[in-house]
Amino acid sequence: MYKIAKSNLPELYKAIAGSKELYLPLENAGQVNFGPWSEDCTPDIETLKSVKSPKDVFFPQSENLYTCQKEGKNIKIDPEKLKDQDFVVFGMKSCDVKGVEVLDKVFLADPIDTYYAARRDHGIIVAMACHEPEESCFCKVFGIDAADASSSIADVATWMIGEDLYWKPLTEKGEALTSELSGLLSSDGDENKVEEEKQAITAIINKLPYSDLSLEGWDGDHFEEKFNATNWEELYKPCLACGTCTFVCPTCQCYDIKDYNTGNGTQRYRCWDSCMYSDFTMMAHGNNRNSQMQRFRQRFMHKLVYFPTNNDGMYSCVGCGRCVEKCPASLNIVKVIKNFGGDK
């Protein structure tokens, strides 16, 4: 167990950034989101949740795929360069780390998404325990431990305790990073303190209003029953069909592929799409889901039924609670689960 005084974190950031790109929660115009470190950035690791999940470090909101350039009457195609440098994501919470696992199921399954895979190969995840979980959190429901990222795909687990940050490498990548930073990290971290912190966090988690949510019946066996339920007809009504829930979500992975005419050629890029949008998966004949009820149902059926059915029971919700906080109409997955009787 390593540790570093929080007051030394700027040094740590600088040291990491000396050899790699570093992404961490930054305050910008009053909001905290993950972004690349720079000399004049303002890191904020105290705020529990970034507005957007850090999934865009691995799966950017928009990324270029390739560029077509016209040369006379011929077309030259330049594929976008894949990520080939290591980078560190510092301060991801357990739920967000689990979110990456969900994305892995999608993008690393055959056919492998090379753009995503390159980022995963080069990304080093430094997870951080949730010092003070909030009322919108319900990661426990999905078996995620906000107090300890050790059992996840993170490379390093950290805890903020008092004036120190405790640091525990989990993987080879994590060990390598730790040794690069050995000058700044002291190896005398007190395991007991970490244990105390974990217990404190777990105690809070057990008190959270959504921690008792039940997912019973959200599985492939109940697909028809859930799909045809009349609940949806009422549930979707306040939905504004905006993309807030999908864009702040750590697991939403849908994207659209578009072309941009730069005047000198065409850039083919992809960007996040939202199943809440009326033109989502629009095809020549029209739309396969032509009412907002259907689109609304799709999002939750996907997270709670289709995805676990296809992925050994793994839900594509990690209980981060961002949609709970951000939905303009105060709708969210919790209300859906409760409406189907999940709050006993």
Partner: protein, 146 residues
């Protein structure tokens, strides 16, 4: 972008209404009244056809200045088109100013079919102004740079 030390030549889009300003530009041409080749004219039926979207699009794609010319107020071929255009452009320009786009990258000038001289003078002035402001970096889409 082109080589650094090359002098900056702005890209300028001019929207001209068919009945007055486009004809004014024709008159400037037939009177051989010189103005810089940086100005490219797009013909529209009336200044009221100019959508703010067209103007922002021009900036997005790398224009350094956009000017709209129409019939003098009161002389619109369609009676009232330029009155609407005047309000639209006033508000749009004010908004661009509000978000910090340099003043002077946009302009409206009323040019009649008889005002070839005014057309030419206006374009000379405008090109000079845009040249002094330098390249538009605040509104362009970086993808269009390469």
């Amino acid at each position: 972008m082109s080589i650094e030390n090359e002098t900056f030549r702005p890209k300028i889009v001019a929207f001209c209404c068919n009945w007055c300003s486009y004809a004014g530009a024709d008159l400037a041409g037939s009177s051989r009244l010189v103005y810089p080749a940086d100005v490219k004219i797009i013909r529209v039926p009336c200044s009221c056809r100019v959508n703010p979207m067209f103007i922002l699009r021009a900036f997005e794609k790398g224009a350094d200045g956009v000017i709209m010319c129409g019939c003098h107020p009161g002389d619109c071929h369609y009676s009232t088109g330029n009155y609407y255009a005047r309000r639209r452009m006033t508000l749009l320009f004010s908004m661009l100013d509000f978000i910090g786009v340099e003043n002077g990258r946009t302009r409206v000038e009323w040019v009649s079919a008889a005002e070839g001289v005014k057309f030419s003078t206006t374009m000379n002035e405008f090109v000079e102004k845009i040249t002094s402001l330098g390249p538009n970096v605040r509104l362009e889409d970086l993808r269009c740079r390469n």
